[in-house]
Subunit: 185 residues, 2 copies
């Protein structure tokens, strides 16, 4: 099903965004040109559980939608991050001040396979404690919110979390962490 790429160019590229336009042909011979692909570094999101078993989330203004959004802590991987787990530990420390616990990669997915070339990694950090002041990037104003898993689930399923990708990550993460069971019917 893979398309053949006959040509490729960058329409706009700077340190924040890279927009690529490909000239493609499908296996059926249909030309698709331009097909736009957004090139970002990989993203990481962390499902952080504290020693009590509460979930640690962050609330911040998101200018794309123009709304405040409740999300898992996370962000863009830096070239200096050794791997997604290291990136998640760094982002969680910066955004929430939580550190420690056991960290492991749960899934490597995509946010939007149609438009985006990068990967979205979900990391579990279980047993983290608040141990330092937050160090957000300039311009970031982040509220750290911890809540019981049942309450986070209510937020996810009831519209309290506006970002569908974040809902997917939270539900998948809780299931993979053995904190949420799902039953058909």
């Amino acid at each position: 099903m893979r398309w053949t790429v006959l040509g490729s160019r960058h329409v706009h590229r700077d340190r924040w965004i890279s927009l690529r336009a490909d000239d493609c042909v499908t296996p059926a011979g249909v030309g698709i040109s331009p097909y736009y692909v957004l090139e970002y570094p990989d993203f990481v999101s962390a499902l952080v559980l504290d020693p009590v078993g509460d979930v640690v989330l962050v609330r911040q203004y998101r200018h794309g939608l123009g709304q405040v959004s409740l999300e898992l802590p996370g962000g863009v991987m830096d070239p200096t991050d050794a791997d997604p787990v290291a990136a998640a530990i760094r982002e969680v420390a910066e955004e929430t001040g939580y550190a420690g616990g056991a960290a492991r990669l749960l899934h490597s997915l995509s946010t939007d396979a149609a438009k985006m070339a990068n990967r979205f990694h979900l990391v579990l950090i279980d047993g983290a404690t608040r141990s330092r002041a937050v160090a957000p990037d300039p311009g970031e104003e982040i509220e750290v919110v911890s809540m019981p898993i049942a309450q986070a689930l209510e937020q996810a399923l009831g519209g309290g979390i506006v970002n569908a990708t974040q809902i997917g990550m939270l539900l998948m993460g809780l299931q993979a962490a053995g904190r949420l069971s799902m039953r058909v019917g």
Copy 2:
């Protein structure tokens, strides 16, 4: 927490993509310029259940990630679609040939509140039957796949669905449709 927008311009805009650059100031007085926002029409995804209760999904090549992806049927809202439910019914008919059943809007969310200005609507279509040939857009090659809910859940939680937004929509949709129960612990 809302940012003030001092200026705004389009860096690239055609019928496929609209990339806006805003000059922003946070409430703390930090200037953020440019902040890029992607302007797309609203998206719709449909959780389609057939009369047996199986889920109807689509498998197609997604050039952003360069992989085949299993997703809910759906797409971009057209200006002629009366509302998200009408858009979902149209997209489902075009992509899968399924029609009929009871359709209702479950949630209006975002795929990426940081970067995207549009909404992502989740529509339930319960009891649809395959009633016509598919009519995909030129260049679209779509495999229609129907499977029991338990199998779709396995795909969602086990890495068989690569798009985290789609996983979120599937899990939320099944829960809202009363076909999936979630229990903490």
